[in-house]
């Protein structure tokens, strides 16, 4: 690496008693990047953020900001700032005093402080709110004050701990737009923790998928979405169907796999070998049609209206788990619960990923994923 990373984590491991919350995490974040740490509750992403902020001392490993080891540095001496899940505004101070807090503690006063506070307020579009107290603000406004309070200090890295998770959907979507704009306008480096894959896909330059204290995959949103590296990543990001399959033969980037009683030819990477594998199938590429349409045969277990179409769960002959399908209205349907249907998909839209190999449970159980949120 020629340029020095803005933030790098080197072999960061953290144990609570016998529980390993983080298992040798290595990650380098470049200047100006917006990186999300994505994973279900308890996957270690928040612990990692707290380690970067200095609230938690890792059991092993180093936290390096611009080449400086800050692992043992207390939070108040680190050049990073954090936006908390529930804003954590000081209730006894007004908006302006909240934003001024960091500057005041750093001894920055007078016109420079005034200018920076005004700039921060402009940035989060809260001019005119200087005298308000936290309890006079909406949840969205509180988070914007929290953003201003952090950004006014010009942190080398801005840490965001699920800042939108306590807001309702409509405000959350508005705040996503705001966050993207803030990131563009400040050029600051953001490390963003979330369990919401949709949020991660919408905001990130890069996503780091976490599971059980380990990094499952690092990549751009479209890469994670289209080329999941593990069944966990596939299921967690995009709610994909992960189907047990067997690779029969491989030839120049394509593999012939057996799924149930059917044989499919699908694209595959060089990491695939003959034998057991997983077939990843996005719900939006699955098509249902009236029987006789070929493909798999199945029975609709559940159907839900989604505005632009329907989402279904279909029990497919020969497959263990129901197949999820997202179908726009123009592709046919709607089908009712109990209908017998043919289940089809374009083979080219599937991915094959290797099964197991690293000694971990190969497929995450749905129960564990069910704990998300």
């Amino acid at each position: 690496m020629s340029a020095q990373a803005r933030l790098s984590l080197e072999g960061v491991t953290h144990r609570f008693g016998k529980v390993t919350a983080l298992d040798s995490v290595n990650l380098a974040i470049e200047e100006g990047e917006l990186v999300t740490l994505l994973g279900p509750s308890g996957c270690g992403k928040t612990t990692l953020l707290r380690i970067i902020a200095g609230f938690v001392l890792p059991t092993e490993g180093r936290v390096v900001v611009e080449g400086q080891d800050v692992t043992g540095v207390p939070p108040h001496k680190r050049p990073v700032n954090m936006v908390f899940q529930r804003a954590a505004l000081f209730p006894h101070l007004d908006v302006r005093a909240n934003i001024a807090f960091g500057l005041q503690v750093a001894g920055i006063r007078g016109t420079e402080a005034d200018e920076r506070i005004a700039e921060a307020l402009r940035l989060v579009r809260l001019e005119g709110f200087e005298q308000r107290r936290a309890h006079e603000l909406s949840g969205g406004q509180m988070q914007r004050v929290a953003l201003a309070r952090a950004l006014v200090n010009r942190p080398r890295v801005l840490l965001l701990d699920e800042p939108l998770s306590a807001l309702d959907l409509k405000i959350r979507l508005e705040m996503e737009v705001e966050l993207r704009r803030l990131h563009r306008e400040t050029g600051a480096t953001f490390v963003y923790v979330t369990h919401d894959q949709r949020e991660a896909l919408a905001l990130s330059d890069r996503i780091v998928v976490f599971d059980q204290g380990r990094i499952e995959q690092i990549g751009a949103p479209n890469e994670i979405y289209h080329e999941p590296a593990s069944p966990f990543a596939a299921r967690f990001v995009g709610d994909a169907n992960v189907i047990a399959a067997e690779v029969v033969s491989i030839e120049s980037g394509t593999a012939v796999v057996t799924v149930g009683e059917h044989q499919l030819t699908v694209p595959c990477g060089s990491n695939i070998a003959v034998g057991d594998a997983w077939l990843v199938l996005r719900p939006e590429v699955v098509r249902l049609s009236t029987p006789s349409g070929g493909g798999f045969s199945g029975i609709v277990l559940d159907a839900a209206f989604r505005g632009t179409g329907h989402s279904y769960r279909v029990k497919v002959d020969g497959l263990a788990d129901p197949v999820k399908a997202e179908m726009a209205a123009e592709h046919g349907g709607p089908f009712g619960v109990g209908d017998t249907v043919s289940v089809l998909w374009a083979s080219s839209a599937c991915r094959v990923i290797p099964r197991g190999g690293d000694g971990r449970p190969a497929a995450p159980s749905l129960e564990r994923l069910g704990g998300v949120g």
Partner: protein, 265 residues
Amino acid sequence: MVVTLVALVFLYLPLAVVVLFSFHATGALSFPFTGFSLRWYEQTFSSQEFRDALWNSTLIALSVSTLTLVMGTMAAYGLSRSRPALRAPLAALFFLPITLPGLFVGISLLVYFARLDIKLSFSTVAIAHFVYVFPYFFLIATAALDRLDPALEEAASDLGASPGTVFRKVTMPQVWPVLAAATALSFALSFDEFIITFFVIGPDSTLPMFIFSKLRRTVDPSINVVSTLLMAITLALWALAFVFVLRAARGRARRADTFLLEASA
């Protein structure tokens, strides 16, 4: 309903009678009531013995509540920041003396002072009151500190505030109303404490001791006056404490509301 009223009358009538007769025009301590006058107040305040007792009680209560404020806050803050495994047993140790009978505390302190050859004086009374009052203060302060959102202190330290600055600029502004209430209560508890004082007091007198010694000699309405004053001061302090607690509670409710309302809007 009737039972409740009877119970209330039973509780408050004796107090009302004491207050009423402190304003009595004659020296009689029983009905019929023959008219209002402040003569017993004048007589009481002109007594050097009474003024000394009032001053002593005030001085002791003041030093006890100040000492409790400082030590109690430090103990409660330290405990709220310690490991969870340590917290419960330590809190129990701090809090347990509250269950000891005053008689027991009084006697054991007396023995203790005698063993150490400490002369009974103001200081011994103050020490005894501190032992008695501390658990109450500690309990209230701990409750307030435990309810504090830890994210606020983390946010402050994240913004560059040293631990001392965090305490001064973030923790104290949140908890001071409750600490003020607890200090007022400490003052009140010390001010009208009798049993423990009885054992460890030296040649001096406090207000409750003054009443007790008066009762053993002549009984005149000035006893009612002193009792009324003692009651008024104690009540005023409790009321003050209540106002502080209300203030703290309102602030907290307001804070909690906004985010929840927004989140569920």
